[in-house]
Symmetry: C2
Amino acid sequence: MADRLAVGIDIGGTKIAAGVVDEDGRVIARTRRETPTTEPEAVLDAIVEITAEFRAELPVKAVGIGAAGFVDASQSTVLFAPHLAWRHEPLRDRVARRTMLPVMVDNDANTSGWAEWRFGAAQNEPDLVLITLGTGIGGALVIDGLPYRGHFGIAGEFGHMQVVPGGNACECGNLGCWEQYASGRVLGRRAAAAVAEGSPIGRRLAEAAGGPERVEGAHVTPLAESGDEEAIAWIAEVGDWLGVGMANLAAALDPGLFVVGGGVSDAREMLLGPAREAYSRTLTGRGYRSEARIVRAHLGPEAGLIGAADMARLTARRRRPANPAARVRVRAAARSGRSPKRRR
Amino acid sequence: MADRLAVGIDIGGTKIAAGVVDEDGRVIARTRRETPTTEPEAVLDAIVEITAEFRAELPVKAVGIGAAGFVDASQSTVLFAPHLAWRHEPLRDRVARRTMLPVMVDNDANTSGWAEWRFGAAQNEPDLVLITLGTGIGGALVIDGLPYRGHFGIAGEFGHMQVVPGGNACECGNLGCWEQYASGRVLGRRAAAAVAEGSPIGRRLAEAAGGPERVEGAHVTPLAESGDEEAIAWIAEVGDWLGVGMANLAAALDPGLFVVGGGVSDAREMLLGPAREAYSRTLTGRGYRSEARIVRAHLGPEAGLIGAADMARLTARRRRPANPAARVRVRAAARSGRSPKRRR
């Protein structure tokens, strides 16, 4: 048991979600707090505090961190995090120094994708594209059953593929990025415009949110669920762009499965139905090829921390061979750890 | 020596190029003929005849075929070839039955990419995107030093990623595919229009081609090389779209290297200069990340047959273990065969 628990910490632009995760991907303790977005030191302090709190109660053996940013190929340094203050932050070593635990750092979408492959929607599919629809689009690749991070560590930035030349301006500095058309941001933009115009749906959103100034993109899905035609159409439009972009990814990567997670995926078939339709309509070679399945993520908002903990646990075990005999056992464990395992 | 020679056959929409290739990627015998595009049986006959001719002279031990089409994940069946008459053609087994040799079938861009990684421009770069600019765009991926073909065998169809919503109609049935903006087809279309309009560059092209009816896209590059400003601008425009599309691929895949081959790459820096500029301009996260190099392919038009032969040779050796000791040797050979080797 002792070496089977790891801390997973998911550092998003607004929230830090953390938990202690066992070898079957179960979260057996959890905590949340606001992300201190302007102070890199404060985020580091929070990580160390959370780890210490968990450790006082449970024998954790490693720390995995999923961060909303570019992480380098050695899983040690956050190169750039648009919503945080980190620039070339050597996070792995700084946390390891203050916790004396093995630490793994990866992009939050990569850790979520890993969790879905190990314990969630993608357990039997080794060629996997994960798409996380939050405010933007996060992405992860699993290839031949292993995470693929690219040569420099930052593969999977699907949201910044250009889909409309000269299109909507993106926070990344480009125009027409996919996430400007197929993410929660689109719903937020439409909702804000509707409120500003005082249109009927704007008034319905304001009512649902408890005031026009409180309206966010997240209010659109409940409204659509209640049967609001316009809200349904907005989500369908996002789904349509999602499908077009997935067909682009399929042309390049030909995966067996797309897993769609993130808050916007709460819209379920209102999103995925139009996405599948657009995908089948625009997939190159359709009719002559097998088509990837498109499913919703299973693990919900804890996927990122579950995957981070699991990756840290597997990495830590691989890194600590005591003697040749132990090394063989460690390798066997790492191998079996990589194969899909049902969540009990 | 005996088990070190393999036949490579590159089946394009207009030409079949074939050769006998040694273990260092040298072509030691070669032949060419027209592709019989309407008769699947005639292509099969040609493959068998070419193999028999080579075999009468040299001890070839395997046949590798690179075909311009979708090949399934087991490297045996051509699912669909837009420029040939094949539909679900079980090519591997049909050739094997008539030659009694081990046969490997793959997409022609995959075989070209493999050749560049083994013997050409990408020898030290295990995370590689190959882009072949001919009439359309072919593509191949090498990931962690192995060809990546996708879950169903048809990854790398980069040319059919949509870059302009509602854009130019593509032969694949979609609108706005990348190859409608960044391939030889663009030069052909511009050249044809210029000839039809009787514009100055149209007259210059007709003169170079020996008559207006003979003008093709391939005449643009020599004209640009002679200093023609308009021809240079046309190639730069293709290069610009090439760079934008490569930035999209880098967002998703983060490779270490792009290798650009195919006939259009004969324009060299007139193409690659603007491509690099557009790539650096539109790459997401630029300034915070390492950037892939962009280089021209080294092996020229024989890359496809060289790679096909090499893949067939390696596959055949892996498939023929005589006894356990031999099996160990075979594996060692296959492993060493996978590592980069300089062309002597």
